[in-house]
């Protein structure tokens, strides 16, 4: 799922310090799972902002709410419609949530409460790592299920560069931020699977047009789209 880090309190406070009434809006999806922007964290952030406002001598009212997912109209629209005299929103969803609130016609400014960092998995409690770069053309069938696009610092497609250390780490690895060499892992995995010889095949230059390089992406599933008639019937 999507992972994020809390923004520093001072930075968030700076966004809304001149408002009278602010909604801190959490998300029950990824932000909750990575424990950065769910109901609990919204409570903590709102309280911290109240204290900060107090010490700065500002009169700001902070409301709290957490919706099931900020990336879906059905959960976001009621919030946008019921803002009343709220002057700004601090969203603790990933960047998608902030964009989506704006897209759904939010009349007041929406500020990010978190820095969205990557799509990844949980290594252990409190530790996550990037595992997918959403390049739009999955190559995992070629690389033993370990992604060189997301996990190799140079997104190489034809094997490890000369920078792999003796203990299988990437050349950018440091003790503070250990980065295993994805290609060392791919080689090891494919050796286990008995498919190492497949890596002898040359992979041609990748078509990045399906990745972010091709411009902002949109996905349309005609079979899932409701035509206007059906929408009317449903409503």
């Amino acid at each position: 799922m999507i992972k994020a880090n809390s923004k520093p309190l001072g930075e968030v406070f700076g966004f809304i310090e001149n408002c009278k009434k602010v909604l801190v809006l959490g998300c029950g999806g990824c932000a909750t799972v990575c424990q950065v922007g769910g109901e609990k964290e919204v409570g903590v952030l709102a309280q911290a902002l109240r204290l900060k406002a107090g010490t700065e001598g500002k009169q700001i009212e902070f409301l709290e709410n957490t919706v099931t997912r900020q990336c879906e109209p059905e959960f976001v629209d009621p919030v946008v419609e019921g803002l009343g005299d709220v002057e700004a929103i601090v969203s603790t969803a990933c960047g998608v949530g902030v964009n989506h609130l704006v897209e759904r016609g939010c009349p007041v400014p929406v500020f990010p409460g978190v820095d969205t960092v990557f799509m990844g998995s949980t290594l252990e409690h409190g530790e996550w790592a990037e595992r997918c770069a959403a390049c739009g053309q999955c190559v995992l069938h070629l690389t033993g299920g370990i992604c060189p696009i997301a996990r190799c610092a140079k997104n190489l497609l034809n094997g490890p560069c000369g920078g792999t250390t003796e203990d299988g780490m990437c050349e950018i690895s440091t003790p503070e931020n250990p980065v295993p060499c994805a290609w060392a892992e791919i080689v090891e995995r494919m050796k286990q699977l008995g498919t190492l010889q497949e890596l002898g095949e040359i992979q041609p230059p990748k078509d990045w047009s399906t990745a972010r390089d091709g411009g902002p992406r949109r996905r349309v599933r005609a079979d899932l789209k409701l035509d206007r008639q059906e929408q009317k019937v449903q409503s």
Partner: protein, 323 residues
């Protein structure tokens, strides 16, 4: 002849080839390049111009390579895929070819985080490109040269004549994949290979057996890398911190002993170690020359170009052949 470069001719004539590295300066100093050119002139068949090595900004490899061509010396223009997408790569290759650059070494390049690894600030916040990897880069150049086509398929007005090189780190982890990496580079179209610096020639010779079994040494010209050691400290650093380089303990000891022989005289200790380093480099060249399948050496005296003439002469590599 694929390119008609001097390096290609020397190899084709069956000579033991010799390339040496010339690192461009961190400023627009043509004087510094000219000085280095005069130190190196006549001491190798072609001279590698590094492309912002360790991701530190330097005068561009293409510009320095043009200076060499204009000065009557042959460059091996190094090109990383770190800083250019396939559009810039091909544009630069055409520009280079128009200026008479015929050799290009295709590499991925050090990651930009490397640039801040030493004393320099570098640009660790830079965005990298890596649109293609080094093997794909080799393939792009081959397609331009042999098919007269750009990577995207458009025809070129004139195909560039190129002698295509690639790097190889035979002793880096994961070891079992390194010969496959070489085979892929050869299959992609690498005419010559320059290896990472080799100090442990015995281990390298074992890997070369595998290379010969696959016949790779006949499909490409492998030049063994020699990084001229300057001090025991440098050897220890290379051994512990440079991926794919292992230095036998005996060499480190030998270098330490040379330094210690000077007693407390630090200047003399440095001189002794430099001398010993040059001797070691000469010996490494001789050992690589005896390794079957090795068709030349690539000499790197990092920020110490003056060492090159002092090595190639006693190594019996002078004069360089006129072909």
């Amino acid at each position: 002849m694929k390119s008609g470069s001097n390096l290609e001719k020397v190899l084709q004539a069956g000579h033991f080839a010799l390339t040496a590295e010339l690192g461009p300066p961190m400023g627009p100093s043509d004087e510094e390049i000219k000085q280095k050119m005069e130190i190196l002139r006549g001491n190798a068949d072609a001279f590698n111009i590094t492309d912002c090595q360790t991701a530190v900004v330097r005068l561009s490899s293409i510009a320095a390579a043009i200076m060499l061509v204009q000065g009557g010396m042959e460059p091996v223009m190094q090109m990383t895929t770190r800083d250019r997408n396939r559009i810039a790569i091909q544009a630069d290759i055409l520009g280079a070819a128009a200026f008479g650059i015929k050799n290009c070494l295709c590499i991925a390049g050090d990651h930009q985080k490397f640039s801040a690894a030493g004393k320099l600030k570098g640009h660790p916040g830079a965005k990298n490109v890596y649109d293609v990897d080094s093997i794909q880069l080799v393939g792009i150049l081959k397609k331009m040269r042999d098919e007269g086509l750009m990577e995207g398929g458009d025809p070129l007005d004139v195909a560039p004549r190129l002698f295509i090189g690639a790097a190889w780190t035979p002793m880096a982890h994961p070891l079992e994949f390194r010969v496959t990496r070489l085979a892929k580079k050869v299959a992609a179209g690498a005419d010559f290979i320059q290896t990472q610096g080799i100090y442990d020639v015995e281990r390298f010779a074992e890997i070369m057996v595998e290379v010969r079994n696959l016949g790779l040494h006949e499909k490409t010209a492998i030049l063994g890398g020699v990084i001229v050691p300057k001090s025991a400290g440098m050897l220890r650093y290379m051994d512990s911190s440079v991926a794919g380089v292992s230095v036998p303990k005996a060499l480190i000891k030998r270098m330490s002993a040379a330094g210690e022989a000077a007693g407390k005289d630090k200047k003399q200790a440095r001189r002794n170690q430099s001398k010993e380093g040059i001797k070691i480099a000469v010996e490494l060249i001789e050992q690589l020359r005896e390794t079957e399948g090795v068709r030349g050496v690539h000499l790197q005296a990092i920020e110490w170009e003056r060492a090159i003439p002092r090595i190639v002469e006693p190594a019996g590599l002078l004069p360089r052949p006129h072909v």
